[in-house]
Amino acid sequence: MSGQGPVEAVTSEWIKLRSVRSTLYTLAVTVFLCVGIGALISFGRGSHASKTEGGFIFDPTRVSLQGFFIAEISIGVIGVLIISSEYATGSIRATLAATPNRLSVLAAKTVVLFAATLVVGQFCSFLSFFVGQAILAGQGASSATLSTPGALRGVLLAGLSLALLAVFAMGIGTMLRHTAGAVTVYVAILLVSFLILAALPTDWQHTVSKFLPEVLTESMRSATQSGGPFSAFSALTSTLVLAAYAVAAFVGGAVLLVRRDA
């Protein structure tokens, strides 16, 4: 293949992403869920703050970023839609006719999606952190600043986790080509995996739990190692494992996109 302009493909995808109002609304909802739920949880936890929270060491950073748990779902929808909406409308054919190098198309979508969700993710995490800490401090609970050990790392990785999950969801969307199916699979991997985990023998749980996306992202947005009910990787290892999820889904999607008829 002659490598039809990858830069042009990125420009094209950027125009597509910003020209659909529903995408912009979903991003706004993501911010609202992140910050709003984070504030609510900070308020709740602040009112009965103690040195521990059910076995966890009280981590003000993690508490303020708890809204990410919900935002992960809306960010996944955006990731799925960036490709599945093209199949739903048939515009995928125009896209692939314009850029026959299908790998370029998926790479361009990934760049645009990753960049957009990273910016939104960081905006969410910093805002959630400051709002959450202010609420905790206002209630006299222990609170953190960005210079608290691990806090800045937690905030930055929280934002990154949304971008990685968006790419993971896009990979699923590329493989399944169907919005409802892909969103269902994404949510199942994110949340239903917990129900399955609960049914496993205890020693299996210890091995498996640290690989669950939700445990990975929780570890990423914590300032301290939790030592909670689930064993978890360190924040940095968790980031790498979550990135591996994104890469695996991208590769799976890319292989199918290149091989299948459009």
């Binding site: 039809q4 125009i15 020209s19 048939g90 515009s91 006719a97």
Partner: protein, 300 residues
């Protein structure tokens, strides 16, 4: 020029395209005809690299589609109406396509003007009628000012004024020296626009000829009226003609021309009331070509 050679495409056990070879020349409108489900759209999708042929190749001016540096500047395709995100405006849809092939932004407004959508360029495409969607698809095809154009059923959903507009557009594009390839399942539509037709049925090539040749090859029949019809029919049959008796008693003769029939009438002493060659219409020619190849035929 489009060059398809020995294209084969299976979907599971169904053979959609079966060893199809043809050439589409520049400067004329080439009609691509076949009943529904005959493999027209599949063939067109293979031309622009959307579906992969199981066997065979198709090239545009000698190169495979995925080898083109900026494909939209060489090939424009209208494959399905309204293949656009309903939440995106017509202008943004075209801007995204233009950006992907380094086409100047000014060209977007030019093609919008050309297809008559300037007034609704900023509106969400979800509210477009089928005809407006079709016009937007045509605008996208013309965006890169390409030398080769593919249109799959371009008049679907258009009103009579729109159909007229598409016909004139196709003629004009061909006059400019472009390769224009238009599919349709309506022969009558092609009779008005195409110079050349390629007819397929069940994925196989049935006819590749200019319009005039196609009508001629579809055969002419001769209508004969005679009070001595029975005698004359025997003589014609003996001479190798094929005779059908019409409900009103007239004979419809094929495989023998009017001159030969006139001579037979003279030698057999039959009186002739009428001896008139009938030219088959293009529609009949198409029907007779594809009668065995209709995928979804109703009971007759």
């Amino acid at each position: 020029m489009i060059d398809a050679s020995n294209l084969v495409k299976h979907y599971g056990k169904t053979t959609a395209v079966d060893d199809l070879s043809f050439v589409v020349k520049p400067g004329i409108v080439t009609g691509f005809l076949g009943p529904n489900g005959s493999g027209k759209s599949t063939t067109m999708r293979m031309m622009i690299g959307l579906d992969y042929p199981d066997k065979g190749t198709v090239t545009i001016d000698g190169r495979a589609y995925d080898q083109l540096r900026w494909p939209l500047r060489e090939v424009g395709a209208l494959l399905e109406a309204k293949a656009i995100h309903p939440g995106r405006s017509a202008r943004n849809h075209l801007l995204a396509l233009a950006a992907s092939n380094k086409i100047a932004r000014a060209r977007v407004d030019e093609v919008l003007e050309l297809v008559g959508l300037s007034a609704v360029a900023g509106k969400r495409a979800g509210g477009f009628s089928l005809g407006m969607g079709q016009r937007l698809g045509i605008a996208a095809a013309l965006l890169g000012d390409p030398g080769v154009l593919l249109f799959d059923e371009p008049v679907n959903g258009l009103d009579p004024e729109g159909i007229q507009w598409v016909r004139e557009l196709l003629r004009r594009l061909a006059t400019q020296g472009r390769t224009v390839f238009v599919s349709s399942h309506l022969m009558s539509e092609m009779a008005l626009t195409a110079d050349h037709v390629i007819v397929i049925g069940r994925g196989k090539l049935l006819e590749d000829a200019d319009i005039g040749t196609m009508i001629a090859r579809a055969g002419t029949s001769v209508t004969v009226r005679s009070p001595d019809a029975a005698t004359l029919a025997d003589a014609i049959t003996a001479a190798g003609g094929i005779v059908l008796t019409e409900p009103d008693g007239a004979l419809s003769v094929t495989n023998l021309d009017a001159a030969a029939i006139g001579e037979l009438a003279a030698t057999s002493g039959a009186v002739l009331h009428e001896l008139s060659p009938q030219r088959a219409s293009l529609e009949e020619a198409f029907m007779s070509l594809t009668k065995d190849d209709v995928e979804f035929g109703g009971a007759r």
